[in-house]
């Protein structure tokens, strides 16, 4: 094991896959000469040259579509969006082209590509740069949606995404880029669609992805001090969703809290809690509780911003309610 940051782990994943397969290339704004707006592609231009690490103009729709066409023609593009906020400009290509091309062509054309970049809220950048849009993308059949919560997962999942033959939406977390964690030295792949139990527990299941996994783990520590053992599950892949791991945990704990940074209305938490209700109803001793971002555009003021996001305290409180101890 080696210690490295989340951004270094992502970098390693891309470097290893580009060395392995010369069809893989990286394209996006500032990925080459600037080394990446968040330095995820640090040093890659030097390693692979300007034909495989390519700076683009600021035209998300155009270069997202370029990735789709290149993938259809047999390459394996990694298209970096500086942040997913800007990828909204490219939604036509992601949703209307990448996601549906295989189906609309009767299986003739695969679109083996990765759209990746920073998602989630940043710090005090306001409403247009702080949003979690994974529910939009996970709603679309044909797309896979991956959201790693730590460096080791980031590397293993990104490698799996690059090798995947379908279009993968890979949403990193802006705040997590500097997080340090243990990453295996040997080559490894984390298959898409497999959740991870980040902490075992018997009293309540907390499902949380991306940055919220860390919040859930902090909440679990506090809960443990209060005599409540929480099991924390990180789905890692939003679509396909590893429902079985979540249901198995709920069968053990009989209580569930679902946490997400995104908006509450029609969010990922709504999907997960509906599935627990549909298939795990008999295991439940209490209603599933959602802890989510508030249904407001992200405010700038520090106190309001903190209120708009889920907090560790809210997760602790929700778990206590689920356990009948509030």
């Amino acid at each position: 094991m080696s210690k490295m940051t989340y951004r270094e782990a992502l970098n390693q994943a891309m470097v290893e896959e580009m060395k392995r397969d010369d069809r893989v290339f990286l394209m996006g704004e500032e990925v080459a000469e600037y080394n990446g707006a968040y330095k995820v592609s640090q040093g890659m231009l030097e390693k692979f040259g300007p034909k495989r690490v390519i700076d683009t103009p600021i035209t998300e729709l155009g270069f997202a579509g370029l990735g789709v066409g290149a993938a259809m023609a047999g390459l394996r593009p990694i298209i970096e969006f500086m942040t997913w906020n800007f990828a909204i400009l490219a939604l036509d290509q992601i949703v209307n082209a990448a996601a549906k091309m295989k189906y609309m062509s009767g299986g003739q054309y695969d679109v083996p590509m990765v759209f990746r970049g920073a998602g989630g809220s940043a710090a005090r950048v306001g409403a247009q740069h702080s949003q979690s849009l994974e529910n939009w993308l996970a709603n679309v059949p044909g797309l896979k949606v991956v959201m790693p919560s730590n460096p080791a997962d980031a590397k293993g999942l990104l490698k799996a995404s690059i090798r995947d033959n379908d279009p993968v939406v890979f949403i990193e977390n802006e705040i997590n880029y500097g997080d340090v964690g243990e990453v295996p030295d040997k080559e490894y792949i984390i298959p898409l669609g497999v959740a991870d139990v980040k902490r075992a527990g018997s009293d309540v299941t907390i499902v949380a992805h991306s940055r919220m996994t860390g919040f859930a783990l902090q909440a679990a520590e506090i809960l443990a001090g209060q005599g409540i053992e929480a099991e924390v599950i990180d789905p890692r892949t939003i679509r396909p969703l590893d429902e079985n791991t979540i249901l198995a945990s709920v069968a053990k704990t009989n209580r569930a809290v679902v946490v997400e940074e995104g908006w509450r209305f029609a969010g990922i938490g709504a999907e997960i809690s509906a599935r627990i209700m549909e298939r795990g109803f008999d295991d439940l001793d209490a209603p599933v509780i959602r802890v989510t971002g508030k249904d407001v555009p992200m405010p700038y003021a520090a106190n309001l911003e903190a209120m708009a996001l889920p907090s560790v305290a809210e997760i602790v409180q929700a778990a206590r309610v689920a356990c009948g101890k509030a």
């Binding site: 066409g69 023609a73 036509d92 082209a97 009767g106 033959n165 379908d166």
Partner: protein, 349 residues
């Protein structure tokens, strides 16, 4: 006539020689597309073809000219007005008709319909339903040829409505920046749905739209198949030789409405007649061939009968096919099987 003279029979147009056999091939392809589209219109009227159905009657010279000017290995993609192009490309017409009818033998298994036809074996990448969407995708195909240095050219087709999309200019910029081997073709049929060119476009000389990206443009008569092929070959050569993209504006006209649901009341009968009787690409080629002594009127009459029969038989064969198997609903979404990944209670099939 000696054997040698016979083999040299043909028409020389602006320096490009079209031998007799190829003239017949070009003619027959255009006529086939015309009759195929008319049949499609009929079947739509009978409600056997559903959804949107955009016919290309009048635009056949562009479809056939593009195909004749390109290599089978070149990539091609277009908008939702795709039947003529995929037929010109050589795809199985029964499969195209079956697709229109939503049958099991459809070219995309009944999953695409009129607007979304693909044929990977002929490097035909759609059939794309969103105006302008295919242009960035075409950029990607061109990029792949640049990346692999495979000598292919991408023909990326759009309409006079599509060219106003921002996605097109984003693509122009990158294609020119990296000198990608792409020929952007605008089928200027004068109307973007019901909006005439001059009501939608500030610059109506669409071939000039690449100027600010340093993309050279060419305006070509899209109702004259020989002229179109000649100029299109020059555009292809430009792109293939590494000089970067080229923008071709094909001046053409659609005889029908935007789609089958459009009665096209925004145009005068006189205007339509002027194009139909004065500039029709099929009649024009027939006249040229008759003038050159390469065919007779009787030949074309008989040919028309034959093609109509052929199209009728194709429609019959396609209609006789069953609808797609219900299991097809769940295939081709992901490469991994999804059946087990998304079970839910109460699932009925």
């Amino acid at each position: 006539m000696s054997a040698k003279q016979k083999s040299e029979a043909g028409i020389t147009h602006d320096g490009l020689f079209f031998p007799q056999e190829r003239l017949h091939e070009i003619h027959d392809q255009m006529l086939f597309i015309r009759r195929f589209e008319e049949k499609a219109g009929q079947l739509y009227g009978l409600k056997k073809i559903g959804g949107f159905c955009h016919l290309c009657n009048g635009q056949e010279a562009v479809c056939v000219g593009l195909h004749q000017a390109s290599e089978p290995t070149d990539y091609m993609m277009t908008s939702y007005r795709d039947h003529g192009h995929i037929l010109a490309r050589g795809s199985d017409p029964t499969a195209v008709m079956a697709e229109l009818l939503g049958r099991s033998g459809g070219i995309v298994k009944g999953k695409g319909g009129s607007m979304h036809m693909f044929d990977i074996d002929r490097n035909f990448a759609g059939g794309n339903g969103i105006v302008g969407e295919q242009v960035p995708v075409g950029l990607g195909f061109g990029f792949s040829s640049w990346y692999k240095d495979d000598g292919r050219v991408t023909i990326c087709i759009m309409g006079d409505g599509g060219i106003n999309q921002g996605a097109v200019y984003e693509s122009f910029n990158m294609a020119a920046l990296w000198k990608l081997p792409i020929v952007f073709v605008v089928e200027n049929n004068q109307y973007a749905m019901g909006t005439s060119l001059d009501r939608a476009s500030a610059e109506t000389h669409l071939f000039k739209r690449g100027i600010s990206f340093k993309i050279p443009g060419m305006k070509i008569d899209g109702m004259d198949v020989l002229e179109f092929e000649k100029k299109m070959r020059e555009a292809m050569e430009h792109a293939r030789s590494g000089k970067g993209p080229m923008l071709v504006e094909a001046i053409t006209y659609r005889y029908r409405g935007h789609s089958m649901s459009d009665p096209a009341t925004y145009r005068t009968r006189a205007e339509v007649d002027e194009w139909r009787s004065g500039r029709d690409p099929i009649a024009r080629l027939q006249a040229q061939m008759i003038d050159a002594g390469l065919a007779t009127e009787e030949h074309f009459k008989q040919k028309d009968k034959d093609i109509k029969q052929q199209v009728a038989a194709i429609a019959k064969d396609a209609e006789a096919q069953p609808e797609p198997d219900v299991s097809e609903l769940w295939t081709d979404i992901y490469n991994d099987p999804i059946e087990n990944a998304y079970p839910y209670p109460g699932k009925v099939n």
